[in-house]
Structures are given as C-alpha cells and as structure tokens.
Amino acid sequence: MTARQPVRVLGKASGRLATMGPGFGFLTVFLLVPLALVLSYTVFRRGRFGGVVHEPTGENFARLADPLYLEVVAGSVKLAAITTLLALLLGYPTAYLIARLPARWKVIALVAVVLPFWTNFLIRTYAWIVLLNSEGPVNSGLKALGLGPVELLYTDGAIVAGLLYAYLPLMILPLYSAVERLDPELREASANLGARPARTFWSVTLPLSLPGVLTGCVFVFVFVPSLGNFVIPELLGGGRRIMVGNLIRDQFLKARDWPFGSVLALAVVAVLVLLLFAQAWAARRAGRGA
C-alpha cells in the first residue's frame, strides 16, 4: 500500500503536467519571451531604424520624467478615471437589475451585454463617428430641439463615450457576478430589521459587492490606458488627444524608438500589476467576511 503511493503521486503529477503543459508552453513562448525582450530593450540605446544597439544606458527611464510625457500619462489617467467612474455609475444599476431578473431573462440580458463584442471593433468605432459628426443623428436631434449643432466628434467627450461604450461590459460582468452571488435572504434580513430599501443597499448590498466593484474598476481603468486603446483616441479624438497607448505605438512605429516605447509599455504593465495586486488583496479581505 505505502510502496505504491509514490507511483500514484508521480502519475498524478505527470497527468497534471500533460493537461497544463500545452497552455503553459504557449504562454512561456508567446508571453514571457516577448515580455523579456521588451524588458531588455529598456536598458539599451535605440537603433537608427528601430531595434536596439546593445549599449547599456539609463536615459530611457530618465525620459519618462519629461513633463511632455508626464502630461500624456496624466491626461490618459484622467480620461481613464472619468471613463471608469461613468462605467461604474452606469454599470452598477444595470448589473443589479440583471441579477434580479428571472433566470430566463438573465441569459438574454447578459447576451445583450456582450453582443457588441461579436462585431468588429473598428466598425463599431466608425459607427460612433457617424453618430457624433456634425451632420449625424445626435446633432440632428439637438438641432431639432434648438440645442445644436454642438461639436461632439474629436473631443475628449467623444473619446470617453467611445471608451465607455467599448469597456462597459467589462464593468457589468464582474458586478453582475458579485451581485448575483449575494444571498437574497441578506436583503430580507435587513428589511426585517427595519431597513428601508435604500439603507439595505448602502449597508448590505453595496459593501458585499465591493469585490465586484473593484474588479470592474480595475478592468476598465487598466484596459483603457494600457491595452490602450489607441484606436478610439485617434478616431473619435481626431488625434488631438494622445493617450499612453498612442504614445507607445508611435514610439515603436513612427519614432522608431523601441527602448523608450519599451519603457512606456513596462511602466503601464507595472501599474497594471500593482492595481491587480491591490484588487486581489481587497477581494481577499472582503471575501474572508463573505
């Protein structure tokens, strides 16, 4: 009996390796290796036509402190923060309502939330241009009401609208799963103890769905500046507003300054990792109570 044990453990381990292996291998080759390359670029000088010259230098990092770039970062963070806040304000009621729908309608509503993902992202963004331009339906409507025309396209507002539209599902889905998991008896207990519905929401529902709020906010806040959507600022912002995503793309494709592009990318990854750690920590803290 005891003699056989190691064999079984070994069998289990190799079984695990067999199931994890392919995915793990894929990630190693296509995620970790490029990331290591980007990391290594940061300490070298730029090549004249892209690439790097293998001469160590620290000046790439020093450039990060340049007010020009700090302004871009600050601007990105501002837009990301506004987008995140709006996404939360719009997403929470939506997620809350979906979570309380009858089971059949829940599925339909959730499909509706992710439906836009099934259409090409560029086409959807162009649709916003059509919607917002000076002759578009929004402005026609405003004109009819005597309020317009207003310059909508190529503004920060248009960028936020586009970002919000693109990332709202990332807010709704974690919120939905957090609210849906809440025991409805907790709401009943709160009412039974004398709390009005609004009080129940503030004291019970909201605090217990905070992990979902955090996840949603981190998703939206991180994806906006990092994955960075350089398409939306360019198409809806008319290139007037440069976000970190645009900056990174420009360093690699236009300025051919790979080392500095790498520094920027790395900075974004660092922020992302920090935020995800903060989120995991907060979720664990909240989860211990739940």
């Binding site: 008896e185 009943e188 709160s190 039974n192 103890l193 605090p207 909240a286 211990r288 109570g289």
Partner: protein, 349 residues
C-alpha cells in the same frame, strides 16, 4: 388575548396552492408552532407574517390592526432565518446593533442593549468576531440575539434547531424556552420536525397541502388526532381502517378492534393506536384484540420496539415496551389495548 389573527389567507404560485384559506389565532405570549411536511405552506405563511410575501386573499391582523398594510421593514415582527442570514461583513455586535440603529436610538442605549442581549445568549466574549469565525450554534445565537434585541411583538423562527447537532440542539431548545419565558415575546416556530414542535411549543398547528389540519396542544395532538393526516404524521401510529360500530372498529379480516366510542358510528373511520399502548401477552383462548408473530425486536435502551406481522393486515404493527422486550422474534403473541387508548378519526368518504 389574541395577538395575531389570520383569517382566510390563500396564496397560489402558478398552479401550486401554497395556502388554502388558512385561519389561525395566535395568542399573546404563547410559543406557537407551524408544523408540516415540506411544501405544506408553512414557510409561505411565515413569509406573509414577515412581510416578504402577500396573500392573494385573506387578512392578517396584529392587535386588531391590518398587518398586511405595513411594509416589511416597519412591522414589529422579527425573523430568525433558517440560514441565520447574518451580515458577513459585520462583527457580531454590529449585526445585533443593526436593527436598533434603524430605529435611530441613542448610541448609548444601543450599546447597552446589544451588550445585554449578547450577555443573555452567552456571546459577550465573541462580540467583535465576524460570523465566519463562529461555530454553527454560536451563529444561531447571534441570529436569535439580533431578532430579540428589537423587542418585537412577534418573533418568527424558521426551523431553529434543524441545522444543529444533537447536543447543541437540546441546549438550544432549553435556551429558547427560557428566553421566551424571560422576554415574554410571542414566538412562532416553523418546522417540519415534530419533535422540535412538540418539545418547544405550547400549541401546534399542523399544516398539510396548504390547509390547517388541526390546532392543539402537543399532548392533545398526540393523543387525540382529529384527522387521518395528523394521526399518521404525529408520532408512530398503528393505523387501522374500518367501520365504526358501537363496540369498536370493524375491520375487514381482523374483526372488531377496541376503539373509543366516537361521533362517527356507522361511518368509516381510522383507528390510531400508539405503539406504547399495545400490550403483548401469551396467546390464550380468545384473549387480546389481535394475534401476531414477532418479526423483529430492537432495543433502544429505555424502550424496546417490537415489530409484529398480523395475518389479514398488510402493514407491520409496532409495539413499544419499557426496558427490554420479553418476547423473541418468531414468537406468537396476543396484542391488546384499551378502547380508550386508541384515537378514532372519521374518514370522509
């Protein structure tokens, strides 16, 4: 004095009738139980009292005032949930204080009352713990404290003992009765467990299929069941169906069995005889109501159960004796009981 008066309450969920014109009076200060199998409507009735559910028709009055017109959060009714439903993000004392804070009481009074009730349920030392750091029994006492601290007119308890293991169960049972005595609040316990209902309640309403079968004290319910359902549901019973005559119950294939004189003479009736009322004796000519063969004897310490097969009766007859049984499996015995030890229940044809 009547505290709660439930009159003609019905509730349907689609095709299912959860409550079918239920009428009940619950008296001030009593420990009342709603007892029935799952799906009998007892939980729906509880939810109507708490305000989470509205009846289709019927009225519920508390002290003569219409309870149904009051929203759940303003009723002087508190519920101890079966799942306890403690707020996981709050400490024990925050949980207990929650209801008092909603009443906007002064902080000092809240602190005082929370401390007092935690003392009463023996959880003063755990006041700052979170629910997940407590045992099941402790969590239940928090739930109880949270409901009692509001000093409601009516305290509802949903299956209060079902989640506890045997030892904690009997402790909690005593504690509930003591507490009810001390605070003088009217308790309504909902349960499918007849032992729980019998041991706790002053009066029990047996519900079945959304209807009230019988409302009585535990002893009367046990000894004087008035419907076939109650006769079969409460305790173990030996049930015989036959025609009531002046001399007893005439059962096909068994003859006339001793039965109390009932109001159902001439009609079909069900006779329920408790196992502990059946005496077993040696087979002598013509003595005893029935003859049977011992199938099995099981010893439970204080009592023994003897299972018997009786020719002409398709169900096993159960007899209980004090201490160890004096018969062995395979033995032929005579069964007898006094006419007044049985309960005769009319059967509606």
């Amino acid at each position: 004095m009547t505290l709660i008066s439930i009159d003609g309450v019905s509730r349907r969920f689609g095709e299912v009738t959860a409550l079918d014109s239920v009428s009940l009076d619950i008296r001030q200060g009593e420990f009342f139980a709603l007892l029935g199998p799952s799906g009998c409507g007892k939980t729906t009735l509880l939810r109507i009292l708490a305000g989470f559910e509205q009846p289709d028709i019927g009225s519920v009055r508390l002290d003569g005032a219409d309870l149904l017109a009051i929203p759940a959060h303003r009723r002087p009714v508190n519920l101890m949930f079966q799942s306890y439903a403690l707020f996981p993000h709050m400490s024990v004392e925050k949980n207990v204080a929650y209801g008092l804070e909603r009443e906007r009481l002064p902080r000092a009074e809240i602190r005082e009352r929370v401390a007092a009730v935690l003392e009463t349920v023996g959880l003063a030392a755990q006041a700052r713990r979170r629910p997940h750091e407590l045992s099941g029994g402790q969590r239940q006492r928090v739930a109880l404290a949270r409901a009692v601290v509001k000093r409601p007119r009516l305290l509802l308890l949903d299956e209060p003992l079902s989640a506890l293991d045997k030892k904690v169960r009997s402790e909690m049972q005593l504690e509930l009765k003591r507490l009810q005595h001390e605070v003088g609040i009217t308790f309504v316990v909902v349960t499918h467990d007849q032992e729980e209902a019998m041991s706790l309640a002053d009066r029990i309403a047996v519900l079945n299929g959304g209807r009230v079968e019988q409302v009585d004290t535990p002893v009367d319910l046990y000894e004087r069941p008035r419907t076939p359902f109650v006769a079969g549901f409460i305790g173990a019973s030996n049930l015989f169906t036959g025609r009531a005559t002046g001399k007893g119950l005439d059962v096909d294939g068994l003859g006339v069995l001793p039965a109390p004189a009932g109001p159902v003479e001439g009609g079909t009736a069900m006779l329920a005889v408790r196992p502990e009322r059946i005496r077993l004796g040696p087979v002598t000519d013509g003595r005893g109501a029935l003859r049977g063969r011992v199938v099995d004897v099981s010893f439970y310490g204080g009592v023994s159960h003897v299972a018997l097969s009786v020719a002409g009766h398709d169900r096993t007859v159960l007899a209980a004796t004090q201490g160890r049984a004096r018969v062995e499996a395979g033995a032929e015995v005579a069964l007898s009981w006094d006419a007044d030890d049985g309960a005769l229940v009319p059967l509606t044809p």
